[in-house]
Symmetry: C2
Subunit: 277 residues, 2 copies
């Protein structure tokens, strides 16, 4: 569990608002790891150990673990156990369902006694409305990170439809703001949409925004900070492939650290420029 | 794999368009099953064996299995193996994510060699657009069942927003119709919205609609058929709790069969009335 003030403290201490995305693909990890009994976990463990002082968050992408069945799920559970508990540990699961089903997803990701895992936050798809989030909010101090404006091409299909409450992604934020405050809800806003941050800050001034799309997807950190940062930072910027696959040799963890350090240094400069630290 | 014509054949042969939802909750199954090594699977196996001639589809709800961690996932895999392969076996997972992540979800649910499971169809949330579905459609003969108009209270939050293409749920159907035809995409439309079926049939005349909400949630089968049935039936109506928890004694499977039979008989009457059989 990491409250909003604890998260802000972490950002200020580490001079970083980096989230390391653990989109760990057995086909992309260094070949030598495949000799270990649990190669995915072995990879994640070394990435985590090499980056934990440089980031404030980790985000395993559930799909990559689920694609490997039972052994994949075991890797996810082992990874969760190894995550530093002073980081905001996000499960990127994009679950969104009706109440009695969301109750079960909440157990899956928030209740260690039920599933073996207890992440601090979960990404949720808003399509089914408040039912999709209230089950998660029933867990004190856990976070919902609701999809608002995503970074991939498909975001244009529906998120920019014009509704009576503005673009659909605006309508989502406005409505979700009535469900819980900035201490419980964050929004996903893709880095590839940096000019939209100005608009989003009009109606979500205090919420943290989880920002994918920096790095492999082409978004600019400086642009995101220029338009999206608030007085508490208010941003968690995710990088996955650019960090974890920085090298696919025996030096992969050192290479990941070097890449994370480079991003952390850019983040420190942005935090100083904005007066957050 | 079950093509559209095979599904229609099944409906005509069995005189049923029933889907049995396997929302199996360890806290709701008969107590005596807890003495078995795999109580959830034991429950599902007996439900399946008792209903397989009365339904054309099964739909395990992923959340209920995920809530139990590794042993839950193993129950889901065991259940998939036991599902009759002449039924449309749907994983109710509501996954919707960007391309490279959806590729992984597709492996998780469609690729037995990767995960141990190969369902015929998956429910998908449309918020992230075409990225969310193309990965699944890359598997020949598999189905995407896209959320359109859901049955729970939260459906009102966004699905009825007015957009330039009609209500959001209409915009979703219209757009998704450009991604694939009625032989690959179905839509979720809640039984609690029966009068909306007339409207939906205007722009999805041929698609099958997966209809939750009959039974425990209060939707009427007769109303759904009146407004939603097409010449090939075009409906798969799901019932979960009313069937699988019809009794919580030793007779649970017989009670489930009796409930499924009652629904099948109503369905037969509707199919005859509409001239489908």
């Amino acid at each position: 569990m990491l409250s909003r003030s604890q998260l802000v403290d972490q950002i200020k201490q580490k001079k970083s608002f980096l989230c390391v995305g653990l989109d760990t693909d057995i086909e992309k990890i260094p070949a030598f790891l495949k000799e270990f009994p649990h190669p995915i976990f072995e990879f994640n463990k070394r990435i985590i150990d090499a980056t934990r002082d440089l980031c404030v968050s980790y985000k395993p992408n559930a799909a990559f673990y689920e694609s490997r069945g039972v052994k994949g799920l075991q890797s996810l559970i082992d990874t969760w156990k190894h995550l530093p508990k002073d980081c905001l540990n996000i499960i990127d699961a994009k679950r969104g369902d009706m109440g009695n089903t969301s109750d079960m997803y909440a157990r899956a990701f928030f209740d260690e006694t039920a599933s073996g895992m207890s992440f601090d936050a979960i990404t949720v798809s808003p399509y089914m409305g408040h039912d999709a989030v209230t089950s998660y909010l029933a867990y004190p101090d856990k976070w919902v990170i609701l999809l608002a404006l995503t970074s991939s091409a498909g975001s244009k299909d529906f998120q920019y439809l014009t509704t009576e409450h503005g673009f659909l992604y605006e309508a989502v934020i406005k409505k979700a703001n009535t469900w819980a405050g900035a201490d419980r809800i964050m929004y996903v806003v893709g880095a590839t949409k940096s000019t939209e941050f100005t608009n989003i800050r009009k109606f979500a001034p205090d919420n943290f925004l989880l920002v994918p799309g920096v790095g492999a997807q082409g978004g600019s950190l400086a642009e995101v900070c220029r338009y999206g940062m608030n007085k508490d930072c208010g941003l968690i910027v995710n990088a996955s492939r650019s960090i974890i696959y920085a090298s696919n040799g025996k030096d992969f963890a050192e290479a990941a650290r070097a890449e994370a350090l480079s991003i952390q240094q850019q983040m420190q400069a942005e935090l100083e420029k904005a007066g957050v630290i």
